[in-house]
């Protein structure tokens, strides 16, 4: 496989904030039309700047536009953004072009616009088909709307991914089973199934702190996970990353890039990138970001970044190990940059043998990986590799 180079573009705009989300996004009604135009222009400036740095190839194997709800900014603007992308970057053959969609505005009109912009992969944030669950998550759509959007997209596009969440407060196995069965009927190409995480500073975290909702206990979380793995195991979906399943050949190339430790450009307010051995994260306020970008000429390498981190050799090694272990391909111990296989085994061999005996890891000669049981406990296992 050719080396992945990804580009992530963040559109931090939503109609309303979901209770669990702690990613950068702001309500649409706070943006004027001019704000949106300026934001698109700012993206162009950042794209141009990053392409000129020469820190990574400008031939992209994936572009991912996420949010927020990117489709809210009008397909015409998305066309402009994609035009900017190809102005400074080259799209590799069969480049994966993903856009995130929200069930509330999935219209034929919108889809035509997106297809015109060139997208060939659609990731729909269903989260659930169950109304009470959606209400609990603070989602702005109903189960019926999610169903209709998914069915519509299934008919119209050839590469569809659905996102769902399980382990909600008061969740039950039955509720989750019903959701996942519906997903399977729809036959998406790719499925992302996330166990709900209560992130600091979110409305959900406040609800939990105030005792308004109770998080599900670890045992139920684990049961939901185990049932999910068991249910999908005999199907054609391959469990290729902790939270992701795909039909053969339909893995998200973009997300795989994260796990395989390949570089990616991050563009837009709140976006994160990994270039030239540095990780950076842009300021999350879109107006501030726009202001920073509007000069068009920059002295700093990452002019919108509020955090830049040079990855030390040690961190690089740990990063490669931990990210690769999230995937079902596992970690090829002979290909870790910065540490020899012999050194790797000297350091971790005993622990890995122990984990294998416990059924948490597998080993195939020089390649090691996590079993599904191990994936569920991955944080614990990752700690082994940290200094």
């Amino acid at each position: 496989m050719s080396r992945n180079i990804g580009l992530y573009i963040h559109i931090p705009i939503c109609r309303s904030k979901c209770y669990y989300c702690d990613f950068s996004s702001y309500p649409l009604n706070r943006f004027t039309e001019k704000d949106l135009d300026l934001y698109v222009l700012a993206l162009e400036y950042e794209l141009k700047h990053l392409a000129s740095l020469g820190l990574a190839s400008t031939e992209l194997t994936s572009v991912y536009i996420g949010g927020g709800t990117p489709a809210l900014i009008d397909p015409a603007r998305l066309v402009l953004i994609m035009e900017s992308v190809v102005r400074y970057f080259t799209l590799a053959n069969s480049c994966e072009l993903t856009i995130e969609l929200n069930p509330s505005n999935c219209t034929p009109n919108l889809l035509r616009g997106l297809q015109k912009a060139g997208f060939n992969r659609y990731s729909l944030g269903v989260q659930s088909f169950n109304d009470p669950a959606l209400l609990q998550l603070g989602r702005a759509h109903t189960g019926e709307e999610a169903r209709a959007a998914a069915q519509f997209l299934r008919q119209e596009v050839s590469n569809l991914s659905l996102d769902l969440i399980y382990g909600l407060p008061n969740d039950s196995l039955a509720r989750w089973q019903a959701d996942l069965e519906e997903v399977l009927v729809l036959q998406p190409d790719h499925i992302s199934l996330y166990s709900l995480q209560v992130e600091e500073g979110t409305p959900l975290a406040r609800q939990v702190a105030a005792g308004l909702v109770e998080q599900v206990d670890d045992d139920l979380q684990a049961s939901l996970w185990e049932w999910t793995c068991d249910r999908l195991y005999p199907t054609d979906y391959e469990h290729y990353e902790i939270s992701n399943w795909a039909l053969p050949g339909k893995e998200s190339r973009h997300n795989l890039g994260y796990w395989l430790y390949t570089p990616y450009y991050g563009v837009g307010a709140g976006a994160a990138g990994f270039l030239g051995g540095q990780r950076y994260r842009n300021s999350s306020d879109p107006w501030f970001y726009t202001e920073l970008m509007r000069k068009g000429k920059f002295t700093a390498k990452f002019p919108a970044a509020e955090e830049v981190e040079r990855i030390s050799k040690e961190q690089q090694v740990i990063g490669q190990i931990i990210l690769a272990l999230r995937t079902n391909r596992g970690l090829n111990t002979e290909r870790i940059v910065g540490i020899s296989a012999a050194e790797f085994w000297r350091r971790y061999g005993q622990k890995i043998t122990e984990y294998c005996a416990m059924g948490l890891m597998w080993r195939n000669q020089q390649i090691v990986g996590l079993t599904e049981t191990g994936m569920a406990l991955s944080n614990r296992i990752f700690l082994t590799f940290m200094p």
């Binding site: 963040h10 990613f23 670890d218 994160a272 569920a376 944080n379």
Partner: protein, 597 residues
Amino acid sequence: MQSKIRNFCIIAHIDHGKSTLADRLLEHTGTLTQREMTDQVLDSMDLERERGITIKMQAVRLAYQAQDGEEYILNLIDTPGHVDFSYEVSRSLAACEGALLVIDASQGVEAQTLANLYLALENDLEIIPVINKIDLPGADPERIKEQLAEIGLDPADAILASAKTGVGIEEILEAVVEKVPEPTGDLNAPLQALIFDSEYDSYRGVLAYIRVIQGQVKVDDQITFMATQKEFAVDGLGVFRPKLIPVDSLKAGEVGCLISGVKNVKDVRVGDTLTLVDNPATKPLPGYRRAVPMVFSGLYPVENDVYGDLREALEKLQLNDAALEFEPESSVALGFGFRCGFLGLLHMDIIQERLEREYGLDIITTAPSVRYRVRKTDGEELTVDNPALLPKPQEIEAVYEPYVRGSIIVPQDFVGPVMELAQDKRGVFITMEYLDSSRVRLLYDLPLGEIIMDFFDKLKSRTKGYASFDYHYDGYRESAMVKLDILVNNRPVDALSSIVHQDKAYNRGRELAKKLREIIPRQLFEVPIQATIGNKIIARETISAMRKDVLAKCYGGDISRKRKLLEKQREGKRRMKSLGNVDIPQEAFMAVLKSDE
């Protein structure tokens, strides 16, 4: 001269406004301007302020222009307010002639008010009742006055005050001048000065807080401490206003501090008598008692490589704390550490917190123990303050444990629950007496080992906080004690062993295993916890294996954030002790201390 001196202290139930009142007296006498006031000046250590208790005492000199036109020197001596420090309290009371008894105008007389009052009366102090917080809406001074009459004080003497608004402050100062007796010591008699506190100062060495009872002491005098027999020259004398002001001499009746060449607080013992080498007093002042640690526990660094730092920190704390003892010990489970002796649990908590806060050390404290005496079958006698070192049952002829005589003052409605608690703690009932129409004093002989567990907490919860508790050491008695061991993942953890009475061993074992199951987080594998006596397993619990610990989502490729979350988790893990693959959090070692009910 003595006719212009008044030595007094303030005693009160916790939260009745002692510290605020002290602040106000300083302010009113111009000892400190309002701007100089940090709140509650007398409690100088952060820790004290946070916990609302006073650990170290100080003596502040107030200059007061009384209504009779004369200027008086009022020495306000601060007293600590916890049962662990009751001996220190008694010594500072002995340095006074009078006490302000502060009572909250809405809460009224409480158990601790009485306990303090009795202590003050034992020291023959003149009592001035102050009804404080009369500005509060719930204030009911008339009711409080009735209560005063019931406990044998004259309600007519009571001063209505609000330390917050300043009402009554002038009256209080006048009452101190009028009612507190002037000191009477003979200026020409051989020197007798009572040490009521000491403090280590890195520049000046040890400061001894003294009350000159008779005679006088001057700079350059050769002095001797009567209990330790050590001799020193007086390098300096001073009084606090509240900063240290040098003086040339301290005379009978005066209070101040003395600086000599002493480098170790252990040489300056609270309660000891100071006299002159040339013209010594024939006998020391009564009431000296050496501060003896009663409670012992192991302190271990979480990371073994800071063992040396821990030793240094303990040495520094000891400079200022004559009651703290420590010696090196080691544990299979915890590595190298120190067995430390404390006056009581609060003292232990304070030391632990200071080590963590002031010295940045992560400490594991093992469950506290008392010092047992053991007579072995071969006739050898030994003392055991570390449960792990108790000999095997077949080698033990007899075990003796320390007892205390405990005095509990409690509203009569709670007598039942208190007696039940005392019984449960193997207490032996001695007497019960009515102090007033509603309050009772119960005397019990109790094993100290039971008291250091959680007696005080339970007493408070059973009496809604209305009980006061005081105790003094009362010798050793033979008891049927056994060693309770804990096995985690089939390995004995010496630091979790405890010595318990055999009648209670089964319950304790079950309780402890259950508690540890809750405290020890789930591991990647199943972990059995067993409680054993000798070779007999008396309880077993199982921590089921952890099933899920995963970061599901990676928002837009923000890997750094993910790494930070893992790093945070790793920090948490680091604070635990890893024993045979099992991560045991610090609080597990303290779990032995508390029992559920």
